[in-house]
Symmetry: C2
Subunit: 73 residues, 2 copies
Amino acid sequence: MVEVFGKVLRELRTERGISQEKLAEYCDLDRTYISLLERGQRQPTISTLFKIANALRIKPSDLVKNVERELPA
Amino acid sequence: MVEVFGKVLRELRTERGISQEKLAEYCDLDRTYISLLERGQRQPTISTLFKIANALRIKPSDLVKNVERELPA
């Protein structure tokens, strides 16, 4: 599941043409942390999830919906 | 926001007549952790969020939507 979140995060970020550096800056997070999230090696808390969603201009619930869709049924 | 998540968690759990003990058991979490979450003193990771949502028989994205609705605009 954490891998799926990382995949969805990368897709959303690259679709918006935002670099890891830029996203980290918007969220006041470290770039390496964004990279670890995208590789499924860290997982966000709910408040980090909200921060990232806001930076990507997507509702947190829609971001979670994307993760749900990509999870095996 | 973490306080709002705690409030939503308590509402959903009590609406379903599930005790903290029972929810902790369903999620393979510690009861005191559930209590800390409900009091906004801990926040869930995304995988804990999914575990709790499944135990409460609500989609994770709907649980997050409830949190969004209760956050100040």
